[in-house]
Symmetry: C2
C-alpha cells in the first residue's frame, strides 16, 4: 500500500510512521515544512498539489491540524476560525479532494480528540472542531464510494506530551502505544465510520 501521513514529522506523526514501517508499505511523510513532501492543509490548491505529487494512494492518515487555545471570554470569531480553517477544513479538504485520488478499498484516518466531550478551560475551539471531525467521519463513511473507509481517532492527552498535562487537570494521560494502535486499527483494519476513542 501507498500510505500518505500528513503531519508525519510531529510528535504523534513520527510514532505512527515508525509503527507502520514493519508492515513494508510505501510511506510518504508529509509535513508543513519538513518531510518527503509539504502541504498547507488550509489551502485547497496546496492539497491538490500534494495529490499531484503523490499520485493515487491507498491510505491517507492525518495527524495534522491546529486550533486556537484561549479563554472564551476574550475569544473572537477570528480566533475561532483558526481551528475551523486548519483542524476542521484542513482535514475535510484532504478527504473531499483526496476521494478523487484514492484507490478502491482505501482509507482515510483523521484526528479529533477527547475535548469534543470532555472539555478543559481554554479549549472551546478545539472541542468544537473535534466534535465536527467526529461527525464528519461518521457521515462521510456512508457516502464514500468504492469501499473506501474513513475513521477518526480521538486521543486523550498523551503521556509523551507532558507540556500539556497541566492544561488537562485530572485527565489520565494515555500511552503513545495505545494511540498508535488506534491509527493502525483504522489504517489496516476493517471498520469505517468509527470514532476510535483512546481515553
Amino acid at each position: 500500500m501507498k500510505i500518505i501521513i500528513v503531519g508525519a514529522t510531529g510528535t504523534l506523526g513520527k510514532k505512527v510512521t515508525e509503527s507502520l514501517k514493519p508492515y513494508g508499505h510505501e510511506l510518504i511523510r508529509v509535513g508543513s515544512k519538513s518531510g518527503d513532501l509539504q502541504v498547507d492543509i488550509t489551502d485547497p490548491a496546496s492539497i491538490e498539489k500534494l495529490f499531484a505529487q503523490t499520485g493515487r494512494f491507498d491510505a491517507l492518515v492525518s495527524v495534522a491540524g491546529a486550533g486556537h487555545f484561549g479563554p472564551l471570554q476574550s475569544m473572537t470569531i477570528e480566533d475561532f476560525k483558526v481551528g475551523v480553517a486548519s483542524k476542521l477544513l484542513g482535514q475535510v479538504g484532504l478527504v473531499l479532494l483526496g476521494q478523487h485520488h484514492i484507490h478502491p478499498k482505501g482509507s482515510f484516518t483523521l484526528t479529533s480528540g477527547i475535548l469534543s466531550e470532555d472539555p478543559v478551560r481554554g479549549g472551546v475551539n478545539l472541542s468544537t472542531v473535534n466534535g465536527a471531525v467526529n461527525s464528519f467521519a461518521i457521515a462521510a463513511a456512508t457516502e464514500l464510494q468504492n469501499d473506501v473507509r474513513i475513521n477518526a481517532v480521538s486521543p486523550g492527552v498523551v503521556e509523551d506530551s507532558p507540556g500539556f498535562h497541566a492544561t488537562f487537570p485530572g485527565h489520565i494521560p494515555v500511552t503513545m502505544d495505545r494511540v498508535v494502535a488506534a491509527y493502525l486499527k483504522s489504517i489496516l483494519g476493517a471498520g469505517s465510520g468509527q470514532v476510535i476513542k483512546v481515553f
Copy 2:
C-alpha cells in the same frame, strides 16, 4: 426576561416564539429579512449591530443557520464552507459576541440536529456542523461567566416538515411539541452544557 429569538420567522422559530408568549416575557423576533429586527449571522458586524439594537438581554435562542446539502462525491470545500459559515460560525458568533451583552444567569440555546450521529445521504456538511455545535455547547458551558448557561437542542426531522421526510428514510419524525419543549427546557430550565436530543 428579554428573550431574543434568532430565526423567529422560520417554521420552528415561529412555534418556539408562540410557545414563549404565555410566560409574559419580552420577545424580540429576529429574522434574516423579516421579524422585529434583522441579522446576517454570517457577518460579525451584523451581529454586533443586532446587540446594539436589542441592548442587554436575558436569553438568546438560535433556530437559525443553513448548511450545504448534496452528495459527498461532488462536494467542494466551498460547498462545505456554507454550513461552516452559517450554522456553525453564525451560531458561535452569536455566543462569542453575545456573552458581552447577556445578563448574569442568562442563557444561550443553539440548534444542532440528529445528523451529527445518524447521517443521511447528502448530509455530510450538516452532520459535521451539528457535531460541532454540540461540542461547542458542552465546552462553552464550562467557561461562560456570571452563571450564564448554554445548551444545544438537537432535533430529529419534524412532523411539520414533510418535505424533508423522503431525505430521512426510516427516521421517525418527531412532533413539533416535543421539539418546542426542548427549547423551553433550555431557556427556562436549569441545565447547562447539555445536548438536548429530541429523537
